[in-house]
């Protein structure tokens, strides 16, 4: 048992290096001149903002509908709870290109739902709404599961006490459950947003244009090769790392406060 700690650390290091080495290699290999040109490229800037924005919309949309679902899963005895839980986790399992095709079949012009939305002036094919939809579909589990775990970690008696003190179920939810689960929800939201930003498979089926950053990287790789795809990828990675470090920092500080 003497070498327990060294072995644990050794194995852990392998995993960490597996993630970190490719990222470092890519960043270091980027030509500063080309990188500067990329940052100034309006097409790149536009696609990155489009990506961040549509992932944010997807996250907000799923927060509104997903947090109540997470609460129900955490608190109530539901007859088909494991089935519902399975449905939530499904998007993680299925290939994302397949998810994109499934979405296309429902929200495209050939199905009544797509037609209905279309008559309201909302189209999901080749639009920003479509990008958000694809992102929401594949990254929903991150938010819902994190929020569910957040609610599960709260002693249900806190809500009961709140009720005896005069709080309606709504008041108990907004004054006790939500503030206490907030950190878990925020960190789930960040994860969902991040997953949305990186989504490629489902997005490309539903909306090749307007081009999100992952699609743009793919397109430049296909059309011009590695040299031109790499700076966009590096820029996106650095930007995302910066934002997530910031948000994680905020979430962590809330925990200490």
């Amino acid at each position: 048992m003497k070498n327990f700690k060294p072995v644990i650390w050794g194995l852990s290091t392998v995993v960490l290096l597996m993630v970190v080495i490719p990222l470092i290699r890519m960043v270091l290999a980027a030509d500063p001149g080309v990188l500067r040109a990329t940052v100034a490229d309006p097409e790149v800037i536009q696609s990155i903002f489009l990506t961040l924005r549509s992932a944010l919309w997807a996250t907000i949309f799923c927060a509104i509908f997903g947090i109540p679902l997470a609460y129900a899963l955490a608190r109530w005895e539901l007859p088909f709870k494991s089935v519902v839980q399975g449905i939530i986790d499904l998007p993680v399992m299925i290939p994302h290109t397949a998810a994109g095709i499934a979405l296309l079949m429902v929200y495209g012009q050939r199905f009544f739902m797509g037609k209905a939305f279309s008559s309201l002036g909302i189209s999901f094919v080749g639009t920003e709404a479509g990008i958000s939809l694809a992102m929401a579909f594949v990254s929903l589990p991150f938010l819902v599961n994190a929020a569910r775990d957040g609610f599960l970690s709260i002693d249900p008696r806190l809500e009961r006490v709140a009720r005896t003190l005069g709080a309606s179920p709504w008041k108990a939810f907004f004054k006790v459950s939500l503030p206490l689960a907030w950190r878990a929800i925020l960190s789930g939201g960040i994860m969902m947003w991040a997953r949305g930003i990186s989504e490629f498979g489902a997005v490309i089926v539903l909306a090749y244009h307007p081009m999100t950053a992952p699609v743009l990287i793919w397109e430049r790789f296909e059309a011009y090769g590695l040299k031109y795809a790499r700076p966009v990828a590096v820029f996106l990675i650095l930007l995302c790392l910066g934002i997530f470090a910031l948000l994680r920092g905020i979430a962590a500080r809330k925990r200490e406060a």
Partner: protein, 359 residues
């Protein structure tokens, strides 16, 4: 003030069966029962957390069976305080006041009055995670009491505390009850707590209430063996009623004239409940005060809570336990070693019988 009428509740595979309980205004009712007996389920049902299958709950004279918890005006304090960890002590206490439409000024005044009353004025701005057990429980009490609930419900409020805080808070509860005149329903498995605090006692086991009454009456005359055991009666011995004269036991005949009614509906097979204080080592009263006198052998000695517990055996095989204080031991002037033969008398006044058939 609180009347629970024949309620039954099923929760998973747990059941409350036909519970009836009446807590009068100003009473300190203690519901005593072992862990896992349904006391908390009963409390949460009274509060309105679980739907009843049948029966009714009346609070302050009104049928509250279908009222949501926020409309019942009951205060709850849990064993582990259940304070809101995201709020300061002050905001915990103010929580209900603000919900009930008190102004900021009223809230501040009431919170501070209550904090003074419970001696927690100096920790109002602290976060609840940094409180000691005793402080946490005072804050939980303040949060419930500040709303002047019809009934204060306490769920094992002292069980999570260390001994010193527990002793202090036990006295504190008595003071709160006396000074505020509030009605309290307190559930616990702790006998000391029950007898220290209760003005009225209910004994519960396996989802049923077995006996209710004043603590003295319940202790003097437990309804059956289970109640006697739950009340911590030290000695239960098998006996047979010998008409009007007394009982036959393996100790020999017990002279208890008139103790047994001798009516035909009572079976003659009984248990005698003999509290420890009735087992007198070296009897010194008049002989007629004893139901039985004889020699017993010291089988074991234990020290518990500053008392010496003696285990005594009779040649007939019967075992009895009793406890002696240091003062009693010093007055006895005989060695209490294992193997010693002691003269023992069983005092008539504390012995009671329970039928064997429903025990």
């Amino acid at each position: 003030m609180l009347r629970v009428q024949e309620i039954s509740v099923t929760l998973g595979n747990f059941m409350l069966k036909n519970i009836t309980l009446h807590v009068k205004g100003g009473e300190y009712m203690v519901l005593l029962g072992p862990t896992g007996t349904g006391k908390t389920v009963l409390l949460e049902t009274i509060v309105g957390m679980h739907a009843v299958e049948s029966g009714k709950i009346f609070i302050h004279g009104k049928d509250a069976t279908r009222l949501p918890p926020e409309k019942r005006n009951l205060g709850v304090v849990y064993q582990d305080y259940a304070l809101f960890p995201h709020l300061t002590v002050r905001k915990n206490i103010a929580f209900g006041l603000r919900l009930r439409g008190n102004t900021r000024e009223e809230t501040t005044r009431k919170v501070e009055e209550m904090a003074d009353f419970l001696d927690i004025g100096q920790i109002l701005e602290r976060r609840t995670v940094n409180l000691s057990g005793g402080e946490g429980q005072r804050v939980a009490l303040a949060r419930a009491l500040v709303l002047k609930p019809y009934v204060l419900l306490l769920d094992e409020p002292l069980s999570a505390l260390d001994r010193t805080s527990r002793d202090r808070l036990r006295r504190e509860l008595k003071r709160i009850h006396k000074e505020m005149g509030i009605t309290i329903l307190h559930i616990t498995h702790d006998l000391t707590e029950a007898f220290f605090l209760a003005s009225h006692l209910a004994v519960m086991k396996d989802g049923r209430i077995l006996q209710q009454g004043s603590p003295g009456a319940v202790l003097r005359a437990p309804k059956n063996r289970t109640v006697a055991e739950l009340l911590g009666v030290e000695n239960l011995i098998k006996a047979e009623a010998a008409g009007e004269r007394g009982f036959l036991t393996s100790l020999g005949p017990l002279d208890m004239e008139g103790a047994f009614p001798g009516k035909p509906e009572y079976a003659a097979d009984v248990y005698l409940t003999i509290p420890g204080w009735c087992v007198e080592v070296v009897p010194q009263r008049e002989t007629k005060q004893y139901a039985w006198m004889g020699k017993m052998r010291v089988e074991g000695t234990n020290f518990l809570d500053g008392l010496m517990e003696l285990e005594l055996t009779h040649t007939g095989g019967e075992r009895l336990r009793t406890s002696l204080s240091r003062r009693e031991i010093s007055l006895l002037d005989i060695p209490l070693e294992i193997g010693a033969q002691l003269p023992v008398g069983l005092l008539k006044e504390g012995i009671y019988w329970v039928p064997r058939f429903n025990s």
